[in-house]
Symmetry: C2
Subunit: 347 residues, 2 copies
C-alpha cells in the first residue's frame, strides 16, 4: 500500500510558477518508483489573485491549506511600485500569515557552497552551515503603531516580542540539529544594545547549552556575524537567531554561497500540528518573470528539504546529489526548464 | 591669532590607546604649520575605569566632555566574558550614552575601497559610498522590558521608537550629502515587515525627495541591501537608514572595503549644539591589545573626518591622501606605531 502525501502547491507570482514547475518535475521523478504518492492541490494566491479578487488569503484558503501534509511555495509579490498594490501587503497578508498561522517556528535555511557555484568571495573556503531562524515572533509580529501619523509630531513604534516559550522551542531545535552536525552553535543577536530581547535569548541559550555539553556554543553580535560571513564563513555550523536577524543573515549567506538562486528554506512546524512549508529564499522577481531566466535550483533544493522533512531521506539525498552534480557541471546559460530537466536527468 | 579647538580624547580600552596615539601623531603633524591649536583633555573612561571605580560615565564626566569642541574616541569595552563586567554594559553606559546625550543624530560612516586594500571580494569594483545612520533613536533607545523574567512564561519586549522629528533631520542631512556627491540616495529598511517603523521612514524620504529633484532615490529591504553590498557595492552612493540597520550594514561594508581596521566614523551633531565625536568603527579587541598589532588607520581616518567637520578641509584631504598612499604601498606586516609614523611621514 502506498503512502499518500497531500501537498498544497502555491506557485505564486512572477518567477514562482516557472521555478515550481521544475521543482514538481524533480519531485515527480524522484518519487516515481517509490511507494509515496503526492496528491497535489494547487492554490492560486499572491499579487495576481489579489488584483483579480481583492483577497490575499481568506480564512477558507487558510483552512484548506492547513488540511494538507506539506506546502510547496514559489514566490509571492507583485511588481514593486505597482499603484494597485499600494495598500496591499502581500508579504504580511500571505507569506507571514501562513508562517504565523501554521506555527512555523523554525525557519530552516541551509547554506552550502557547492563546488562550481559562482560566488562573490575570492577565497570562500568550505561553507556548510544552517541558520535556524525563529519564525513566529520577534520584530516580525507587527506590534506597534503610530500617533500623529503623517504630521511632524509623528511617533511610530515597532515592538519586538520575544517569549520564553517561543525562544526555547527554536533554541532546542537548533541544539538538536547541532548534535547531528558538527556540534557547534552560534547565537547571533545584539545583546549589548537590545538589552531586553537580547537577555531572554542569551538566558535560554545558556540554559539549553547545559543540556548539551558536547555542543560548543558561542555568541556573536549581528554586526560582527555579517563580517564573519564574508571573511570566515567556514567557522559556522548552526546559527540560531531571531526572525529579523535571520532574515538578514540568510540573504547574505545566500549571496555568499552562489546567490539566492540556490538558497532553499523550510518553514517548519516540528510538532507536526500544522503542515510545514518549503520555499526558495528568493522573491518573485517580476522583472524576469515568464522569460525562463530564473534559476529553479532553490525551488528544487526546497524539494530536498521537503522530502527530508517527510522522512524520505534517501529521496532527499538523491535530489541534493543531482543538484550538486548539476552545479559542478554548469557552464553555458540555460533556461529555467533546461536546468530543471538536467537535474531531473541526474536523479 | 590662532584658532583654539578644545578636543576631548577618550582612548578607552584594549587597542584604543594604541590607535589613538597614532591618530594624535597624525593630527599634531597635519596641524603643526596651521593656525589651529588643538587643546586636548584626556578622559580615562571605559571598562578599565569601571573596574577601578565602578563608574561608567558620571554626570560630571559628561558635562566636562560636553564643554569641548569635539571628541576623539578609541574604543571601549573589556574582555568578553570577564565576570567582573557581567552586569556592566559599557557600550550602553558609555558609548551610547555619549551618542544620545550629545544628540549625535548623524552617525556618518564612509566606505571606500582604497587601491591596494585587501578585501574578501573577488571583483569588488569601485566602492565609494557613505552610510548615514540615525544615531539617537530606533531600536537603540532601550525601551522595553520583560515580565516573569527568568521563568518559562517570560515575555521580553524591545521597542523601536521612530519620530518624525528624528527621522526628518537625518534624512535631510543624507539628501544634502547626496547633493554634494553622486546624487543617489538609497533608503534601507524593512518596510514590508516592520510596517510601523517602515512607514514613517518611507513617508519622510518621499517628502524630502520632493525637495531634491536632482537626487535619484531608491529603496532596498535590508536583506537585499546586504546582498548588493557583496555583489554590487558600486551601486551605492548615500545610504540612509536607522540605527540598527546602519550598525549591521556598516560592519559589513567595512569588511568589504578591507576590514574594519580601515573604517572610520563620525557621530555628528550637525546643529553644533554639542561636540561631535569621531571614532574607528572597530571595537577594543582586548585579545591583541598592547601588542602593537592593531591597525591605526581607522583612527587616523577618523581624524580626517574630524578635520573636515571642523571646516579644515585642506588638512582633512592631506590626511586622507596620506592614508591612501600608505595603503597603496602596504606590503610587510608593520606595528601600530610603524603604520602611524608612515602615514605621518606622507602628510
Ligand atoms: C518577503 C519577506 C516578508 C520575507 C521575510 O522577511 O521573511 C523574505 O525576505 C524571506 O526571507 O523569506
Ligand atoms: C558597541 C556598539 C554599541 C556599537 C553600536 O552598535 O552602535 C558598535 O557596534 C558600533 O557600530 O559603533
Amino acid at each position: 500500500m502506498s503512502r499518500v502525501v497531500k501537498l498544497a502547491v502555491i506557485p505564486g507570482d512572477g518567477i514562482g510558477p516557472e521555478v515550481i514547475a521544475e521543482a514538481e518535475k524533480v519531485l515527480d521523478a524522484v518519487t516515481a518508483a517509490s511507494d509515496v504518492v503526492f496528491e497535489k492541490t494547487r492554490f492560486s494566491l499572491g499579487a495576481g489573485r489579489f488584483l483579480e479578487t481583492g483577497d490575499t488569503l481568506t480564512d477558507d484558503d487558510l483552512a484548506a491549506i492547513a488540511a494538507h501534509d506539506a506546502i510547496l511555495l514559489g514566490a509571492v509579490g507583485g511588481t514593486p511600485g505597482d499603484p494597485r498594490l499600494k495598500d496591499a501587503n502581500i508579504e504580511r497578508g500571505l507569506l507571514l500569515r501562513l508562517r504565523f498561522s501554521l506555527d512555523h517556528y523554525v525557519n530552516l535555511r541551509p547554506s552550502k557552497l557547492f563546488v562550481g557555484a559562482p560566488g562573490p568571495l575570492a577565497a570562500p573556503g568550505e561553507i556548510d552551515f544552517v541558520v535556524v531562524r525563529e519564525g513566529t515572533e520577534g520584530p516580525y509580529v507587527g506590534n506597534g503603531g503610530a500617533i500623529r501619523k503623517g504630521t511632524p509630531q509623528e511617533v511610530a513604534n515597532e515592538t519586538s516580542v520575544n517569549t520564553a516559550f517561543g525562544v526555547e522551542r527554536v533554541v532546542r531545535y537548533a541544539f538538536e540539529l547541532a548534535e547531528r552536525r558538527r556540534k557547534k552553535l552560534t547565537l547571533v543577536h545584539k545583546t549589548n544594545v537590545l538589552v531586553h530581547a537580547g537577555a531572554i535569548w542569551q538566558r535560554i541559550v545558556n540554559e539549553i547549552a547545559a543540556e548539551h555539553p558536547e555542543v560548543t556554543v558561542d555568541y556573536l553580535h549581528v554586526d560582527a556575524a555579517t563580517i564573519f560571513l564574508v571573511t570566515d564563513p567556514s567557522r559556522f555550523d548552526v546559527i540560531v537567531t531571531d526572525n529579523l536577524f535571520g532574515d538578514i543573515l540568510t540573504d547574505l549567506a545566500g549571496a555568499v554561497t552562489g546567490g539566492i538562486g540556490l538558497a532553499a528554506s523550510g518553514n517548519i512546524n516540528p510538532d507536526g500540528a500544522f503542515p510545514s512549508m518549503f520555499e526558495p529564499v528568493h522573491g518573485s522577481a517580476p522583472d524576469i518573470a515568464g522569460q525562463q531566466k530564473a534559476d529553479p535550483t532553490a525551488a528544487i533544493l526546497s524539494i530536498a528539504l521537503l522530502l527530508d522533512h517527510l522522512g524520505l531521506s534517501a529521496e532527499s539525498a538523491r535530489v541534493s546529489a543531482a543538484v550538486e552534480a548539476d552545479i559542478a557541471a554548469r557552464s553555458a546559460a540555460r533556461t529555467t526548464a533546461e536546468i530543471g530537466s538536467a537535474i531531473t536527468a541526474r536523479l
